[in-house]
C-alpha cells in the first residue's frame, strides 16, 4: 500500500469512529454521551447537539486530499490536548494519523473529551509523559502561553505545531434578512456554549444603529428559542460575574437583551469591541466597511473564522483583514470541513 493511501485509510478509520460516536444507539455513542455528560460542562442536550451536529462523521475525497496536504509526515506524532471543546479530539487525532502511524496522546485529565474512546478504538497510546524525539511532530492545543511553554521545553529538532485560542465573528451584510441571520447565528453561538475557537463572539451589522438594534432583538429571540431546546451548561462563579459586569457596562452604553441561557449586548456607537464572556454572550454593533475594519483590526490576528450573511462591503473588508480565517455562511461556522486544522492560522505560523 502506498504511503498516501495508508495515511488516508487511517484518517477514514477515525472518521468512521466519529459516525459510531454520533449514533446514540451505538455502544460507543452511549459511552461518549455518558462520559461527556460528566466532563464536558455542557448540558445533556448540549452534548447531544455536539455529537450529532458538530462531530466529523464524513469526509469528501477533496477534503481528505486537502487534509493530507496540510499535514507533514513524521516518524512519530505526539498530540497534547487541552480541555478543548468536547469533540475536538477527533480532528486532532485525525491530523495526527495523517502525520504518522505512531500517534501518542496526552489529554486533559479534567476534560478528556472523546480522546480516551478514540485512542482505545484506534489502538493509540495515551500517556502522561510525551517523549518527542528530533524529527517527531508535536501538535499542541491550548492557550498561547501553553504552546510557548511546550515549544520552549521541546527537544531540538521536534517540529511543534501550536493550535492556540481564537474566536469567530459574524458579519450581517446590508442585504441580509435579519431574522434568518439571527436564527443562523444562534445556531453558531450555542454549540459548545460558545467555547470553541470558531465560536462567534461579535456580530457586526452593516448599516445604521436601528438595523443593529433590530438584529440584536432578533438574535435575542433566536437564542431564547434555542436555549429552550438546548440549555446552556452550568456556569462557574467567575463566568456569572463576568456576565453581570458585561451586562452592566452595556446598560451604560447601549442595551442588553438577557435571557435565561444567553445575553446579547448592543453598543449603538462602538468605540472599541470588548470581549464578552464565552457563555452564549454576543456583542452586537453597527458598522460600515471602514468602521468595521477599524474596530476589528486589534482582533484580526485572533480571528479563526468569518461567518457571513449576505454580501457587502463590510464582509469584503473583514475577509481582507483576516486572510487566514475560514469563511462560512452563518449557521455553518461550527461545521468546518475536515480539510485540515480547524484553525487555519496554524498553517501560516512558523514552525520550529
Amino acid at each position: 500500500m502506498r504511503a498516501t493511501e495508508a495515511r488516508a485509510l487511517r484518517v477514514r478509520r477515525a472518521v468512521a469512529l466519529g459516525r459510531r460516536i454520533a449514533d446514540s444507539a451505538d455502544p460507543l455513542g452511549i459511552e461518549a454521551r455518558r462520559d461527556l455528560g460528566i466532563t464536558s460542562g455542557l448540558s445533556s442536550e448540549g452534548v447531544e447537539l455536539a455529537l450529532t451536529e458538530h462531530l466529523e462523521v464524513a469526509i469528501t475525497d477533496a477534503d481528505l486530499e486537502a487534509l493530507l496536504a496540510a499535514v507533514e509526515v513524521a516518524p512519530r506524532c505526539h498530540v497534547i490536548l487541552a480541555a478543548n471543546v468536547c469533540t475536538a479530539a477527533l480532528r486532532a487525532i485525525a491530523l495526527g494519523l495523517a502525520a504518522s502511524s505512531s500517534v501518542t496522546i496526552r489529554h486533559s485529565r479534567r476534560d478528556p473529551g472523546l480522546a480516551p474512546i478514540l485512542a482505545r478504538e484506534l489502538g493509540l497510546t495515551l500517556t502522561d509523559v510525551l517523549a518527542a524525539a528530533p524529527g517527531d511532530a508535536l501538535h499542541v492545543y491550548g492557550s498561547d502561553a501553553t504552546i510557548a511553554a511546550v515549544r520552549g521545553a521541546a527537544a531540538p529538532g521536534v517540529i511543534v505545531h501550536g493550535h492556540g485560542t481564537g474566536l469567530g465573528i459574524a458579519i450581517i451584510s446590508d442585504d441580509a434578512d435579519l431574522d434568518a441571520a439571527a436564527q443562523a447565528l444562534a445556531a453558531d453561538v450555542s454549540p459548545f456554549d460558545q467555547r470553541g475557537c470558531l465560536s462567534p463572539r461579535f456580530a457586526l451589522v452593516e448599516g445604521h444603529e436601528d438595523r443593529a438594534a433590530a438584529f440584536a432583538a432578533a438574535l435575542d429571540a433566536a437564542l431564547r428559542d434555542l436555549g429552550d431546546r438546548v440549555p446552556r451548561g452550568p456556569l462557574d462563579d467567575a463566568t456569572r460575574s463576568a456576565i453581570a459586569l458585561y451586562g452592566a457596562a452595556l446598560d451604560a452604553v447601549g442595551e442588553r437583551f438577557a435571557g435565561p441561557q444567553h445575553l446579547v449586548g448592543l453598543d449603538p456607537a462602538p468605540r472599541t469591541l470588548p470581549l464578552p464572556p464565552a457563555a452564549r454572550v454576543v456583542h452586537v454593533v453597527p458598522a460600515s466597511a471602514a468602521s468595521g475594519a477599524t474596530l476589528l483590526a486589534p482582533w484580526a490576528r485572533f480571528l479563526t473564522t468569518v461567518g457571513g450573511a449576505g454580501r457587502g462591503a463590510l464582509l469584503d473588508a473583514i475577509n481582507a483583514l483576516a486572510p487566514a480565517a475560514r469563511r462560512a455562511p452563518l449557521g455553518r461556522m461550527q461545521r468546518p470541513p475536515l480539510d485540515g486544522p480547524v484553525d487555519r492560522r496554524v498553517l501560516e505560523r512558523p514552525r520550529c
Binding site: G41, A82, A83, N84, V85, A88, R110, D111, Y141, G142, S143, D144, H163, G164, T165, G166, L167, F192, Q194, R195, G196, C197, S199, R201, D236, D237, A238, T239, R240, S241, A242, I243, A244, L245, Y246, A248, A249, D251, A252, V253, G254, D267, A269, P270, R271, T272, L273, P274, L275, A278, T294, A297, P298, W299, F302, D343
Partner: protein, 379 residues
C-alpha cells in the same frame, strides 16, 4: 468659551475640596454629609454624561429623590473603554489618563478625562501625607517608573510626578522602557551618604526587573526610608507573589517590611488606597488595623462589596466585588464598579479598609475560545 457644565463643575470641585480638607482632619466634621455630596455629584453627572444617565434609567433609579450614596448606579470600569465618561467636552480636557495597554492596542484602552487636576492632586497629597510620609515633609524620592513626559497619559505617572515635586524633587529610573538599575544604586548611595531617608515609588514589575538586574549593586537606603509599590505584572515581568516580592524589596533596600507598602488605585478613580503598616509603625494609625493586604481608603471614598453576580451590596465582612464611591471623581463617575474582589473591614469611623483579594478565581478555562486573560500584556 466654557461649556454649560463649567459653572456647576467648578462649584462641585469647590465643595469636594472643602470636604477633603475637613475630612482629613476629622471625618466626623465635614462641611456636609458624604451622601448628600455624592448624590449631588451623581445628579450633575447624570445630567451631563449619557452613560451615567442610561445606567440610572436601566436600574430604575431616580437620583432626584435618592438619599443614599449606595443608590448611585456604579459605572463599570469597562465603560471607560467603551465611551467617553466626562461631564465636559473634549476641548476642556486638561488631562486624559489612559488605562494600561493590552494587546488590543491604544484604541481599546479606557480613558478618564479631567477638566481640572486640582481635586485629584489635593486628595493624592492629603492621603499620601497621611499614609506615605506622615513623619516627614521632605524625602528623597526615587521613582522606578518613567517620567511624566514619557507617559503623560498615565494617572500613576501623574501622581508620582506630583509626589516627587511635593517632597523636594526626585529621580526617575525608567527611561524608554529600560530600567536604570545603576542609577537607582547611585540614588541610594547618595541618600546613604546624606543620611537622608528616601521614598521609593515603584510599579511591581519595575521592582522585579530591578531585583533581577541588581547583581552586586548596593541598594540599601538609610533608616526612615520606605517603598510604595503598585500595580500588577500583566506580562511585563515574571510574576512574583506579594509576600515574596515584599521580602525581597525589604532585603534589597534594607527597609523593614512594615515600611514596604502597597497602593491600590486605578485610572478610573481619582483617589488611592494604601496599606497602613508604615503609618502604624510610626504610631500614626491604629496598629490593630494594620497588616499587609489591607488597604485604607481616604474618608472621601466609600467602599462596598457587592455580590459578583447580582451587583447588590453585601454586608461588611462578606467577600464581593469592590464598588467605590470616590468624591474626587467630580467630572466623570462618582461611583465605580470594579472586578476586584474585596472584603470590607470595619475600621475607624469614616475610614474604610478593604482586604484586597484579587480577581475572582474562575474554573480553569475550557475550550479554545479566546479569554480576556489572553489579551492582557503589553501591546
Amino acid at each position: 468659551m466654557t461649556s454649560s457644565s463649567s459653572a456647576p463643575s467648578d462649584a462641585l470641585h469647590a465643595r469636594v475640596q472643602a470636604f477633603l480638607a475637613a475630612a482629613i482632619l476629622d471625618p466626623a466634621r465635614t462641611p456636609e454629609p458624604f451622601d448628600a455630596l455624592a448624590l449631588d455629584l451623581a445628579r450633575f453627572q447624570a445630567a451631563q454624561i449619557p452613560a451615567v444617565a442610561r445606567l440610572a434609567r436601566a436600574r430604575g433609579i431616580d437620583l432626584a429623590s435618592a438619599t443614599h450614596a449606595a443608590d448611585i448606579p456604579a459605572v463599570p470600569c469597562d465603560v471607560f473603554r467603551l465611551t467617553r465618561v466626562a461631564a465636559h467636552p473634549p476641548d476642556e480636557d486638561v488631562a486624559v489618563f489612559h488605562t494600561s495597554g493590552t494587546s488590543q492596542g491604544r484604541e481599546a484602552r479606557g480613558e478618564h478625562a479631567l477638566r481640572t487636576t486640582a481635586t485629584y492632586e489635593l486628595g493624592a497629597r492629603l492621603w499620601g501625607a497621611r499614609l506615605l510620609w506622615p513623619d516627614a515633609a521632605r524625602l528623597r524620592v526615587i521613582v522606578l517608573a518613567a517620567p511624566l513626559a514619557e507617559q503623560p497619559d498615565s494617572s500613576l505617572g501623574f501622581m508620582l510626578d506630583r509626589f516627587a515635586a511635593l517632597l523636594g524633587g526626585g529621580s526617575f529610573h525608567l527611561r524608554d522602557g529600560a530600567l536604570d538599575a545603576l542609577g537607582v544604586a547611585e540614588a541610594a548611595a547618595s541618600a546613604r551618604d546624606a543620611r537622608s531617608p528616601a521614598l521609593v515609588l515603584a510599579t511591581s514589575f519595575a521592582l522585579v526587573h530591578l531585583l533581577d538586574a541588581r547583581r552586586g549593586l548596593d541598594l540599601r537606603l538609610p533608616p526612615g526610608s520606605r517603598v510604595m509599590q503598585t500595580g500588577g505584572f500583566k506580562g511585563r515581568s515574571r510574576e512574583v507573589a506579594p509576600d515574596e516580592l515584599r521580602a525581597a524589596v525589604s532585603d534589597a533596600f534594607a527597609v523593614p517590611e512594615a515600611q514596604v507598602i502597597g497602593e491600590y488605585g486605578m485610572t478610573e478613580l481619582s483617589s488611592q488606597l494604601y496599606e497602613t503598616t508604615l503609618a502604624a509603625a510610626l504610631g500614626k494609625w491604629p496598629a490593630a488595623e494594620a497588616r499587609h493586604g489591607v488597604y485604607a481608603a481616604p474618608p472621601w471614598v466609600r467602599v462596598t462589596a457587592v455580590d459578583p453576580t447580582t451587583l447588590a451590596p453585601l454586608a461588611d465582612g462578606d467577600v464581593g466585588l469592590a464598588r467605590l464611591v470616590d468624591l474626587a471623581n467630580v467630572d466623570s463617575a462618582v461611583a465605580i464598579q470594579t472586578a476586584d474582589r474585596v472584603r470590607v473591614l470595619p475600621g475607624s469611623p469614616g475610614n474604610h479598609s478593604i482586604e484586597l483579594l484579587g480577581r475572582a478565581p474562575g474554573a480553569p478555562p475550557r475550550g479554545c475560545s479566546i479569554a480576556v486573560d489572553d489579551m492582557l500584556g503589553p501591546p
